[in-house]
Symmetry: C2
């Protein structure tokens, strides 16, 4: 198979290992896994996760849930405070299988009355990330619970403040406290949490929803959640320009495939696999600029390099298909079935 | 027409005005326009640009050129130092019409011998952006010219250092000098330049290739290249969560539609149209976090807001279609035909 670069390439052996390791980790802690498919958006990978013992899947949007329901997945949690417009309610009611949604306002808890009776709801609580979710100690928590009635089955949170070096352990503790405080106040319910970095410290919660661990990325390495040799997804790119005097190398992988995700605590847009000092210092739409390390020979025009992107989830959403490389080197194309399903 | 949010919406009247203004500006300076279609990737908009008097179009990749050639465009410049693999040469030779490519190395100037004779080349020179392109004073410039032979028709540059407040005028001067120095050394040739911010200072060059001016964006406003009332493209989004005490509002437009492009000289990921102080301070994949201005009433859950993104080009590449709103309010869907064409 001939691949035009830039292209997303997945190492099958590492992908298998990452899925197996998370299954083992969760089993050891007695925590169920409801893997987040927003990272890969690929039914083949979700099926590998289910086969490894996942309870069901997590989606970010109704559109993603539609793709995965169509592909035969029957236990889907949309872990998002979905705005329940008339049309959203129709789309949710049309989904086959066991469906759960997130709710973080009294308004939406009331609007949920329009949903099919077997669609259940989890209340989103904020464990310190300051994004969506109600404060565990707030009056809103009990009001939402009351408005949901029998639709209520538990609470969830996303400890997004786990990202950043050294933050994961505290974030996991915050998560556990937020979930426990909430279910105690509500007289019970499922507790759902877990980002990829905080998963390693997961405590007494019922289920976790890690996503990016299947691929790993530069952000996860910098966060301390994984090592370079666990990275299963890279962007294959070609050297298109070089300036010997400046030791500058330009790759054809730009922001339209690597994405520009770069939290303040990171100093680059990714790096070359096997050359951790060859960092992408600038990114245009179709150019990655690397000032090549002094002690390493400068690549030639036409050389192909694998770039470890900062954030796997936004990279996958930029391509229609990925190339999965088996240990014997053969490539298979898998469709990113839920690419672009933002709504 | 019912739109599920988040969605890209284009104001037709402002789009028309932006295209007309650039045509008037270019005509007044006697500079031809070869508009960059990477910004919109939409044949309907490219046709509007041609109708307004553009000389031809500029693409970033062979894949984009294939889409626009298929749509009937016959004068296409791929302003990129294309890596001429065997397959790239086959794809270029299969394109109908008048085709031009960029070259910035002796290796590729030689490889260009495999191209159809009527495919012409422009040498890329670096005018200060330190990305691809050879230095105008370098030996490489004349060596590439020699290797190209009769395929050579001129030089081009992208003065990308025009971005950033106050940089545009100097970048336009650098661009002019780099192009003039180069054609003087080479004994003549076409000079092609022009970013959207520097276009306002464009001097004695033959053609310019602005792209983002059709839509404008938050980056262009901050750069001083336009004002808010010229913005023709926004991301329609819905308030999905709010925290009254914290004055925090969460929209359903995240990094998977707004993209995370944020140069160091910008302090947010975009802002709400008509509310310039309502800035997106954090962006997750499906959440935009806005700390709402104290003196403005907090929006309700379900309210729809238009977000002006930081960078129009990366937003368009995240959606399959855009909604074009006429002055009478009617909406029409246009397909982003070249979305994802990275190679």
């Amino acid at each position: 198979m001939m691949i035009d670069t830039p292209a997303v390439v997945i190492d099958r052996e590492r992908l298998d290992a990452n899925i197996a390791a998370m299954a083992t980790h969760a089993a050891a802690h007695g925590v169920a896994i409801r893997r987040h498919v927003k990272t890969h958006k690929i039914p083949e990978i979700a099926q590998m996760q289910i086969d490894a013992g996942a309870r069901g899947i997590t989606c970010a949007t109704i559109g993603e849930a539609e793709v995965f329901a169509e592909a035969g997945f029957t236990d889907i949690f949309i872990s998002y405070p979905v705005y329940l417009s008339k049309r959203a309610i129709e789309r949710l009611n049309a989904l086959a299988g066991e469906i759960r949604i997130g709710v973080d306002s009294v308004e939406m808890a009331r609007a949920a009355a329009g949903l099919r009776e077997d669609i259940k709801a989890l209340i989103e609580v904020d464990s310190g990330h300051r994004r969506s979710g109600v404060t565990p100690s707030s009056e809103a928590l009990t009001q939402i619970r009351e408005a949901l009635g029998s639709r209520y089955i538990g609470v969830f949170t996303f400890p997004g403040h786990s990202y950043g070096p050294g933050n994961a352990k505290q974030a996991a503790a915050d998560e556990l406290q937020a979930l426990q405080t909430s279910v105690e106040r509500l007289g019970g319910g499922l507790t759902s949490g877990g980002s990829s970095p905080s998963a390693q410290f997961t405590g007494a919660i019922d289920e976790m929803r890690p996503g990016v661990y299947v691929f790993k990325d530069s952000q996860q390495i910098t966060s301390g959640a994984c090592t370079e040799d666990q990275v299963s997804m890279t962007v294959l790119s070609t050297v298109v320009s070089r300036n010997v005097a400046d030791r500058r190398v330009i790759l054809d992988a730009g922001s339209k495939i690597l994405s520009t995700d770069k939290p303040a605590w990171m100093d680059s847009h990714g790096f070359v696999l096997g050359q951790p000092d060859a960092r992408v210092s600038a990114l245009s739409e179709h150019h990655a600029t690397i000032f090549w390390p002094e002690d390493v020979e400068l690549p030639e025009i036409g050389d192909q390099l694998q770039v470890v992107p900062n954030h796997a989830c936004t990279v996958i959403n930029l391509v229609d298909e990925v190339y999965v490389r088996a240990t014997d080197g053969t490539l298979e194309a898998w469709k990113v079935a839920a690419r672009g399903k933002n709504s």
